[in-house]
């Protein structure tokens, strides 16, 4: 040990502490940015345990003993369609109930990119065509894609999540709402 260090050990620590704080800031930013890619129990992973790809699967109602997705609304009946657009566009169809019914789209990493409810759709059945930007660009020009009866949703990712949900007005109607949601379809457009 040199004499200078013994004289002031605090000064000796100042530089490593300052460097540590700077490193801490970098670690913080990197870990926040990496978290969606690293999280093993994210929404897609949880839903993959109960649902296949490009098909509608029923999501069990949340209970005190657990829920498929944390913090989901128990007043809703929920179904899910995990999609993969690699093979082509997808057609999503959901009959509405007199109360709140909605179709919500999320990317594979859980980013919310589109949602529509029964009132916005203004029809008894919400029908949507889900496709990637490339598939949308490849649509034939003569096809009138802007027609009111055809809603084209552009997915920023090839894989993702479609949540199909309907609100239960009162407990007695839950089974009825569930049957409506069970009639939903999600599959490759023929």
């Amino acid at each position: 040990m040199r004499a200078g260090g013994d004289a002031n050990p605090l000064m000796r620590l100042a530089l490593p502490i300052a460097a540590g704080l700077v490193l801490g800031g970098i670690v913080h930013l990197v870990s926040v940015l990496m978290m969606p890619y690293m999280a093993e129990r994210d929404a897609f992973a949880r839903l993959s345990a109960i649902a296949g790809t490009n098909m509608v699967a029923h999501v069990d109602d949340p209970s005190p003993f657990g829920a498929v997705l944390p913090n989901s609304d128990p007043a809703f009946v929920t179904a899910v369609c995990l999609y993969d657009l690699a093979a082509g566009p997808l057609k999503v169809r959901l009959p509405t109930t007199p109360d709140y019914t909605s179709v919500s789209f999320y990317t594979r990493l859980g980013l919310a990119f589109y949602a529509i409810n029964d009132r916005a759709a203004g029809r008894r059945v919400i029908e949507l065509d889900l496709m990637t930007a490339r598939q949308k660009a490849a649509l034939p020009d003569d096809e009138d894609v802007t027609a009111a009866d055809r809603l084209v949703i552009e997915s920023p990712s090839t894989t993702g999540i479609v949540l199909l949900r309907a609100m239960v007005r009162e407990r007695g109607t839950r089974e009825e709402v569930r049957r409506t949601i069970e009639a939903a379809t999600c599959g490759t457009a023929s």
Binding site: G5, P16, H28, M35, P36, P62, S72, P74, Y100, P156
Partner: protein, 218 residues
């Protein structure tokens, strides 16, 4: 790290040969290096934990004890919102669907304690539907014999003057009773479906939200 090992304010009395200098200071240097790494990891990961444990990024809308993160339910969600959602495994309520307000405290800043009687009362913001849900701090519903986990706007009993009055407590009460199961650190979530867009964008002018008052504790 050559610089890190050298003492601030310390001037060598004679220019030492570089090899010899580094030999002598290597235990100090590696100690500095370890301290730097330890502080970096501890500070960085704690900041990340703090930033994602109780919120969903920036753009918080505050109204009394209620908090909402409307941006987290859009494609413009910031990295903190994305990280918090990935960590918890939930999917946010999309802003096109509505907005979710979360309360962990009462009006006086006290944690919502299920052993006490708590009253939620007042006017609610305009929305086509709303649901009120009670969970524990982990987001799980509260077990109770009545199977009552919350209320929806379609089933709640309204007061004569158009206000809402919900009694939270461990024991059954008249009116809109929400059982707390005697659990501490409860979380209330008020989800407004088809809410007016202005609700999420007005950050200065907070919406009118019902008050939360702890009335009696054992």
């Amino acid at each position: 790290m050559q610089e890190a090992a050298r003492l601030p304010g310390h001037t060598p009395r004679f220019p030492a040969p570089s090899l010899r200098h580094s030999d002598r200071s290597s235990p100090v240097r590696s100690l500095s290096f370890i301290i730097t790494l330890a502080i970096g990891a501890a500070v960085g990961l704690s900041l990340t934990w703090l930033a994602t444990v109780s919120g969903y990024g920036f753009g918080t809308v505050r109204a009394g004890p209620w908090r909402a993160w409307p941006k987290s339910g859009t494609a413009e969600a910031d990295p903190y919102a994305r990280a918090a959602l990935a960590r918890s495994g939930e999917l946010p309520l999309q802003l096109a669907d509505g907005i979710a307000f979360v309360a962990r405290l009462d009006d006086s800043g006290r944690a919502l304690d299920g052993r006490c009687n708590i009253r939620l009362s007042g006017l609610l913001p305009q929305a086509r539907f709303w649901t009120l849900t009670l969970t524990d701090s982990q987001g799980r519903l509260i077990d109770n014999a009545a199977g009552r986990y919350g209320f929806a706007s379609t089933e709640v009993v309204w007061s004569g003057d158009g206000t809402l009055d919900v009694a939270l407590g461990p024991r059954a009460q008249a009116g809109n009773w929400l059982p707390t199961g005697g659990r501490d650190r409860l979380v209330l979530t008020l989800r407004l479906y088809d809410a007016p867009v202005g609700l999420a964008t007005r950050s200065s002018d907070a919406p009118e939200m019902p008050s939360l008052v702890t009335e009696r504790c054992p």
